[in-house]
């Protein structure tokens, strides 16, 4: 349960930081967001990643939690990268 929450928080966190980058805004949204929006997205992304650390450490303690957290960060980032590498296919599916 905690693992799923940790993965989900990291996934959303990285997705927000992805959307905070101008290059990826163009790919996913078709336009560039104002830089204030980008900053807000990046901040909330990092906030969610920090939250993931707290959630992961509930129960096993922060020592074990930190090791788990780094693992989930890697997995979540890998998923976001995979999704981003296939963004054209993704968007085509969504539009249909």
């Amino acid at each position: 349960m905690i693992h799923a929450a940790s993965l989900l928080l990291s996934l959303v966190g990285f997705a927000l930081s992805l959307l905070a980058m101008a290059r990826h805004q163009q790919e996913w949204l078709g336009r560039k967001l104002p830089s204030a929006h980008g900053r807000a997205l990046r901040r909330s992304g990092f906030l969610l990643l920090a939250l993931a650390f707290i959630v992961t450490s509930i129960g096993p303690g922060w020592a074990y939690g930190a090791v788990s957290w780094f693992g989930w960060l890697t997995m979540a980032a890998a998923m976001v990268v995979t999704a981003n590498a296939n963004h054209e296919r993704f968007l085509r599916k969504v539009r249909q």
Binding site: H3, F14, S17, L18, M21, R23, H24, A63, Y64, V67, S68, F70, G71, W72, L73, T74, M75, A77, A78, V80, V81, T82, N84, A85
Partner: protein
Amino acid sequence: MAWLHTWAGLVLGWLMFVIFLFGTASYFQLEISRWMRPELRGGEVTDMALDAAARFLTARAPGAGRWSLSLPSGRGNEAMLVSWEPREGSEGDVGEAPLDPLTGQVVALRDTRGGEFLYTFHYQLHYMEWWLGRYLVIVAALAMLVALLSGIITHKKIFADFFLLRFGKGQRSWLDAHNVTGVLALPFHLMITYTGLVTLMFMAMPWAINASFPDRDALYGASSPAALNREASGNTAPSLPFSGLLDRARVAGDGFDPGYITIRNPGDAAAVAEIWPQNSRLVTRGRPIYLDGVTGTPLFAPSSRGAAAATQDVKIALHAGRFSLPVLRWLYFLSGVGGTLMITTGLVLWTVKRRAKLPDPARPHFGFRLVERLNIGVIGGAPAGISVYFLANRLLPLHLGHHADWEVNSLFIAWGALIVWTIARPAKRAWIEALTVCAILFGMVPVVNALTTARGFIPSLIARDWVFASFDGTMLAMSAACAFAAWKTASHKPRSASRGEARAFVEVAL
């Protein structure tokens, strides 16, 4: 800095690949050991088995100086292993025997080194003196650390391009893949390389010991408290049964999970039981609990090992991940896969980058050919060797002498054969064939397992034997990954240089 990253990464890159590959597999070394001993049914240790172990030791080694009993961990790796040693200065033999953890009966297990070989190989190599292997690994780990730190600087766009992976763009795609596998698990890569050096630090940096201690034994004596021992009294008194001693240890230490028990002078009035915990904690390496062998009362606990030793323990625990529960173990494993892929893409990138600049691509110079051949032979050959190691476990006749040695030899014979084969083939064909061989061999492991034991994939699923089912599943996933890579290589059409040149021409003209 770029040249440092290139050459630190290249020269020992193949050794790093092998260390990462075998080390990653070692996160499941107990599960691999269990798969490689199919005679053994896992399960919780029963009191009946503990009593049977004591009876076995009483009958087999009545006057022994010490009896030891190694309990399988929750991961169910091994048999319950009993061993005995004679008293100092007295006649008697040293021996050990595997017992079934459910019944306590002696089980006949096939002779195998199991996952322990993959683990040992990743820091000590094979077919050479142990110290030479370890020094080679130390040099490779140092080069890895240099390559990682210089890589962060060389590939300085890894954070700006954090999410960037573009397929089908030749060299650009290899660079993306190298950056992404590097940066996504960067905390793991740094941690594993640094803590790996810590595990071998007394060999890497012996001078600190020489400066402070007359010799190595003095260091060990100072850093680990002496075991508690009592002289045998000569009066006989029945020792408590194993189950009673273990229960008392669980009570004496809060949340104590016993993994190993030794009784010194069993059957004597001065018997002492020394009980070690399982390797299940991150922060502290467990310290033993001492109990009076006859009454079971706790004896004084030796002092702790001090802050420096505790720091070293945590680093080693972090490296080996023995404390991790299944989910974290898989995360460790997948991060290790990421590291292995980072090294793979780095090595391939070296050739991709230089192939375009070769004066005559049909006849590359010696250095290029050497790197290309080593890439194919090591990246394709080592996984093939591992799969053959598993196949040999099932296929070599059980009555064969030195069964365990021949399993290991099979690994290197298969690997060597693949190197010889691929050297004789054109590079692209060699990649396709090596990857196809890997796919076939990994795919054969579950099939051969199902044919030679009663513990195939489907029966294991039905019996909810997750270790066996996951092992076979992982082999199938490896097979699929190798097949996919072979198919990708086969269907890859290098974009002709002329097209790129033509486009550049047009752009200039416009």
